[in-house]
């Protein structure tokens, strides 16, 4: 991404007036931060498990981001914001582990297919069953695994962005995610809904 700040940085910025600095801060905030609010909210929801807490967390994150945006170099705004979100979350919960789903909470699935050929009754049953098993397997995952699946598969974060949120290396995100899906796959195989894993 082009360093957007460079476009608003003016010659002789050392002499920039306070009003000009405020203007630059607002423009950078609108450009880098505001478009990421939906993602921040989704991730906050994953971390807190409660809509009200998620909203508060994003508000605190926005306040911090606003205060720091004039020092942001413009590279990878989402990663930068997710890191702020994580630090803010950690400060708020003071060591309490994030929870994605309450223990024992199950996930109901709906089946909606728009713009696809009408599936047969058998296909609907098998598909419904497949998704039910996946949802149950997802709910049964350890929190550390489920939170990675939620961040990547549901919230659409990249491995690196999920790593930034969780404060772990990218490789840890990758191994947790892959193991989580392998566990889901094992459940599907046991239910006769997926082929056995082949031995190489």
């Amino acid at each position: 991404m082009a360093k957007w700040n460079a476009r608003v940085r003016q010659p002789g910025s050392g002499c920039m007036t306070e009003a000009a600095r405020d203007q630059k801060q607002r423009l950078a905030f609108d450009h880098y931060v505001v478009p990421e609010i939906p993602v921040l909210y989704r991730v906050a929801l994953s971390l807190t498990g409660q809509p009200a807490d998620a909203e508060d967390l994003v508000q605190d994150t926005l306040i911090r981001a606003f205060g720091a945006v004039d020092r942001f170099d413009g590279a990878h705004p989402r990663a930068w914001l997710l890191t702020i979100l994580r630090h803010t979350h950690l400060n708020r919960v003071r060591g309490r582990k994030p929870v994605l789903l309450r223990d024992g909470q199950s996930v109901e699935l709906t089946l909606e297919r728009v713009g696809k050929p009408e599936p047969s009754a058998e296909e609907v049953v098998v598909s419904d069953l497949f998704e039910s098993v996946v949802a149950e397997a997802l709910a049964a995952l350890p929190n550390t695994h489920r939170e990675v699946v939620t961040l990547v598969d549901i919230n659409g974060l990249s491995y690196q962005e999920a790593a930034d949120v969780l404060g772990v290396p990218r490789g840890t995100v990758m191994s947790r995610l892959h193991r989580a899906r392998a566990r889901i796959r094992t459940r599907l195989t046991a239910a006769g809904l997926a082929p056995r894993r082949r031995m190489l």
């Binding site: 905030f29 609010i37 996930v107 699935l109 997802l138 549901i154 919230n155 599907l188």
Partner: protein
């Protein structure tokens, strides 16, 4: 025999990166190699289909796992606007 060993070796390499490939997390060269292998190898193709279906089912579960309240997002946008509003 050699062909089979070479094929198995290819399968092993593809299996190691399959999920990263499906997540779009491999480089272009690796992506091309994996895509070609999946076209040629029925077993690996089946493996890829299985993980695609799992990923898709997880995404389907998304709204229940992490519902997004459009009103909350709108409130946060307004909060951000107020935050960036020039102080008078």
């Amino acid at each position: 025999m050699i062909q089979s060993m070479l094929s198995r070796s290819g399968c092993l390499r593809v299996t190691r990166v399959l999920q990263s490939y499906l997540d779009g997390e491999v480089d272009e060269v690796t992506s091309g190699i994996v895509a070609k292998h999946l076209e040629e190898c029925r077993r690996c193709g089946l493996e890829a289909s299985t993980y695609r279906a799992i990923k898709s089912a997880i995404t389907e579960a998304g709204p229940d796992v992490a519902p997004v309240d459009a009103e909350a997002v709108e409130r946060l946008r307004r909060f951000a606007e107020d935050l960036a509003e020039p102080q008078t």
